[in-house]
């Protein structure tokens, strides 16, 4: 495990044009400090893989407001007028994915599976141009894995091995996204000594985590 870095150090690792998995559900469970550092960095053309666009000042909103994002892959954008405006202006590409398919595609990428066979989306716009595979007489949509160059994870606790715990509904996409980033950066609320997190309480083993962000001053 590497020593803890600052949010600015973490943001500096992410180049223009990178794809980034970003956790959170309406801003809950989003790594806010690294999001703000990244928004301040002036990064451009990011592909953001995140459940929802939250609101302009919430969750990943600041990244969209700062025009860092070229492509958004997620399930909900209804409460962020910036996204709607940039989408209409043609400067932001939006790929809407059903939420259950979204998270399962990320898991498939992280777990070395070839994709997801889901009934969700069959017979709707979502199925357009996709393969339908029949298994035991039932049709399923084949959805490909969804991976990224980086995964930015919000955790409750972390030790210096990188083991992570999450808290209540701030868990959401975090443990799944931690599987599927080529580089995984965790922003915990606290860092505790090694051995202080009971093995059964760990939700993301440290072997998956590449960098840990220092606690807020």
């Amino acid at each position: 495990m590497h020593p803890a870095i600052t949010p600015e150090d973490a943001a500096a690792l992410i180049p223009d044009g990178a794809s980034v998995l970003l956790s959170g559900f309406m801003g809950v469970g989003t790594p806010d400090r690294v999001v703000r550092a990244l928004a301040a960095s002036g990064r451009r053309n990011l592909t953001l893989i995140v459940n929802d666009a939250a609101r302009p000042h919430l969750g990943v909103g600041p990244l969209i407001a700062a025009r860092c994002v070229r492509k958004f892959i997620g399930s909900h954008i209804g409460l962020n007028p910036d996204v709607q405006a940039q989408m209409r202006a043609g400067t932001l590409e939006v790929d809407l994915v059903p939420q259950g398919t979204f998270v399962e595609r990320i898991r498939a990428a992280g777990m070395g599976l070839g994709g997801v066979l889901t009934p969700t989306g069959l017979g709707t716009l979502v199925a357009k141009g996709k393969r339908v595979i029949e298994v035991e007489g039932k049709p399923f949509l084949l959805e490909p894995p969804l991976r990224a160059d980086f995964a930015l994870i919000a955790a409750r606790s972390c030790d210096y091995v990188g083991n992570l715990t999450y808290m209540l509904s701030a868990t959401n996409f975090n443990p799944i996204m931690a599987l599927a980033g080529a580089v995984v950066i965790a922003e915990p609320e606290e860092i505790v000594p090694i051995g202080m997190i009971p093995p059964d309480a760990v939700k993301t083993p440290g072997v998956l985590v590449d960098h840990v962000i220092r606690r807020a001053a």
């Binding site: 989408m87 939420q99 398919t101 868990t171």
Partner: protein, 224 residues
């Protein structure tokens, strides 16, 4: 005390009627909007667990002012509480429950439902594109789907012969509850089961663009 249905708002009337559909000891998902109000009308002690897509199984009421925590929220990001016996699951697990047939009931809002009982509730092309969130998985996977919505919008019926908006799923929903009527989509069409208090059959028929099947006397909603 039994509330007077004549004094209830249309949305509360819908929520109250939907609440009667909830069976003891089941797992229920309530969508945003009118569906969220359903839990307010449910008697205590039924052992019902409410789940949100965000991973809370056993959602409680809104906590008292100043006692919320940003780590325990509903799908809109507002602070909630949890009931005794609540549990937390990640998003993959949450949708596994939904898609895997473990969810007994979902109650969702709607933009349109058509004569085949198909729901559209996630976008108005060229106008409003919020995204489907978890709605497609919910309609695909829940054992029972109830649409809770106002009967009309801008004077136009939301119950239409054929959806003109993109479908959420081709699955036929199980029940439609509006402030005017309770309607059950079945193989042969939309069956009118109940009318709201003080609403005549003629009013329901006039407010509904899709054909309704009426068998004999239509009873009034019992909002006990």
């Amino acid at each position: 005390m039994r509330p007077d249905p004549h004094l209830m708002t249309p949305k509360d009337l819908i929520a109250r009627r939907v609440a009667q559909e909830i069976r003891p000891g089941t797992l229920v998902n309530l969508g945003i909007g009118i569906p969220t109000r359903v839990s307010d009308h449910l008697p205590e002690g039924m052992g019902v667990f409410f789940q949100w897509e965000n991973g809370v199984v056993g959602l409680g009421h809104r906590p008292p002012e100043g006692m919320g925590d940003r780590h325990l929220t509903d799908a809109g990001g507002s602070c909630v509480s949890a009931v005794p016996g609540a549990s937390i699951i990640d998003s993959a697990f949450s949708f596994g429950l939904i898609r895997g047939g473990h969810l007994d009931l979902t109650v969702l809002g709607g933009l349109q439902v058509d004569a085949r009982g198909r729901l559209a509730n996630w976008m108005i092309p060229g106008e409003y594109v919020p995204g489907m969130g978890g709605a497609m998985d919910l309609v695909t996977g829940a054992k029972r789907v109830i649409v809770a919505m106002l009967h009309c919008v801008h004077g136009q019926s939301k119950i239409v012969p054929e959806c003109t908006l993109p479908l959420t799923s081709p699955r036929r929903v199980d029940l439609i509850v509006t402030e005017l009527a309770v309607i059950a989509p079945r193989e042969d069409g939309l069956h009118l089961l109940e009318t709201a208090p003080d609403v005549s059959l003629a009013e329901v028929l006039a407010a509904t663009a899709a054909p309704l099947l009426v068998a004999g006397e239509v009873p009034e909603m019992d909002l006990r």
